[in-house]
């Protein structure tokens, strides 16, 4: 059963901004990663799902209910984390969570308190004085505290330190095991990779692909940085065939490898390797690798 359904959704802001004829579904119990550079239309899509915007064409629905006309009813089962943190002036963290609980008619606060503890959220301070990371944690607690069936998370880990990012990934996996349906947007491939079952990639308002995360990983080239004992060994290594792309600078070689790395490891055994490192792919590289998209038209947006 598909919980989130988007059909031919179009919102044209002119100037190629907006979303165009967008269609995808998220199944029950699935974690869907929504990936795209800044300005690609991720937040616009989520705004439609939240019922903030009326589409020019097409339809978005959650749990069979129209996102725009039945939004209040949809919200009963939905948790939302906005991309921009804006709370209520002058409230403390706890005031805000209590207020949101009352707005939702939420009676059970056990899960809320467990989340506060898990994320080490200090709820006493005024929100205005909180750091960006603390605000983000507050937003996360607010999105999950009423144990909703569906979660829409707009760039959930921005502002979190690596430790908290890891905690957040654990939370997502936990919620998935409870059968929750989650859509989370991101511009970081790593973040999505850790938690999602399926990925949709959006570019300039159009969905360019939806892929199973395992397929994506298999197709994905990884970049390794090898530091040899001397520039000569690096050059010698680079002469060896079988790699798509090798660049050498000094004693360091940079190599892209698709899929299995055993022959690469075997080959490295012949050299004196001082250091081996991987370079994280940014979204740009991901696009390049999977779809052969040229840098030209969207590099300036990222």
């Amino acid at each position: 059963m598909s919980v989130i359904e988007i059909n031919g959704l179009t919102k044209d802001y002119g100037n190629h901004k907006g979303i165009f004829n967008l269609s995808f579904q998220v199944q029950e119990g699935e974690v869907f990663g929504y990936l795209g550079p800044n300005g690609a239309g991720k937040t616009t899509t989520i705004r439609h799902l939240m019922g903030f915007l009326t589409a020019d064409k097409g339809k978005a629905s959650i749990l069979g209910k129209d996102c725009r006309s039945e939004s209040a009813s949809v919200m009963k089962e939905l948790g939302y984390l906005p991309a921009e943190m804006a709370f209520f002036d002058g409230m403390s963290g706890m005031d805000f969570l209590k207020f949101m609980g009352e707005m939702r008619d939420m009676s059970n606060t056990a899960y809320r308190d467990a989340l506060i503890k898990k994320f080490e959220l200090d709820t006493r301070g005024r929100i205005r004085k909180m750091s960006k990371g603390m605000k983000q944690k507050l937003g996360i607690v607010c999105a999950f505290m009423h144990d909703p069936k569906v979660l829409l998370l707009d760039e959930p880990t921005s502002g979190l330190d690596p430790l908290m990012q890891k905690l957040f990934a654990e939370l997502i996996l936990e919620e998935r095991s409870k059968g929750k349906t989650i859509l989370m947007s991101s511009h970081s491939f790593e973040e999505i990779e850790r938690t999602c079952d399926r990925v949709g990639i959006i570019r300039q308002g159009e969905l360019v692909a939806t892929e199973n995360i395992h397929d994506l990983k298999e197709k994905r080239r990884k970049i390794y940085l090898i530091t040899f004992d001397s520039p000569a060994s690096a050059v010698e290594f680079a002469k060896k065939d079988g790699y798509d792309k090798v660049t050498v600078s000094g004693a360091t070689a940079k190599v892209c490898i698709l899929g299995n790395v055993s022959s690469f490891v075997h080959e490295l055994g012949k050299y004196n390797v001082l250091d081996l490192d991987t370079e994280s792919c940014n979204l740009e590289d991901v696009f390049m690798q999977y779809y052969g998209v040229s840098n030209g038209n969207h590099s300036n947006k990222n």
């Binding site: 209040a72 919200m75 948790g79 709370f87 009352e102 707005m103 607010c142």
Partner: protein, 266 residues
Amino acid sequence: MLSKPLLKATIKQNYIVLLIIIGVLMIYMPTIVSMYDPKTQESLNEMLKMMPKEVISAMGFSSPVSDLLSFIATYFYGFLILLLPMIYTIIVANRTIASHVDKGSMAYLLSTPNTRAKIACTQAFYLLTSITLLITFVTLSGISMCQILFPGDLNIKGFILLNLGALLLYYALTGIGFFASCFFNDTKNSLALGAGLPVAFLLFQMVSDIGDATKFFKYLSLYTLFDPATIITGEGYAVSYLVLVVIGVVMYTAGILSFHKKDLTL
């Protein structure tokens, strides 16, 4: 159709501004009432005659003063009642909707199972109730002040009628502010209309009072519909009151509808 927690939060957010405005009005009201002296009324009128007519007119002090009611009507309801509560309504009307949309906190309100109409109605309810409270407070304190200082001198029925007029005027004014707050997505535009218009009305009112040459300005001001001098005669106010009510109803309804329909970039 109202959200209790939101109403509570809105009260908490705004009660200090309300108290400040009430406080300032409570300084003026006793001062003005205590300045009334049936015996020196004549000499005061003499003194006013010596000042340039235009200056006095612009302040709304033009009508001849005979009794306590017309004294208060002239000195308190001619200008102060137009200015001070207006400041309150301008601040609060913007805060009800536009500032939540501008800051983004509206996203949280709408992520709860409450319709936009319910949220807008709650905020409109607060605005209407708080301004009613303010005018009621002014009315009651005015009556008690007069009863203490000049027992029996105040025409209470006329005084209540005068305050009813002020209240209806504020229903219309807050209606404009509320509509601006609902219609625009940012504080800047909401204030441009919601504050700009009432302030312009006040200026037009003052300009039109200066003399015959500038009289036509009164057709540009909503305040023309609230004329203390006419109201205390007990006649000829019905149409004005009705128009104010209609403006109020139309503006509040339009505000809620526009908020219900519009795109929110939250």
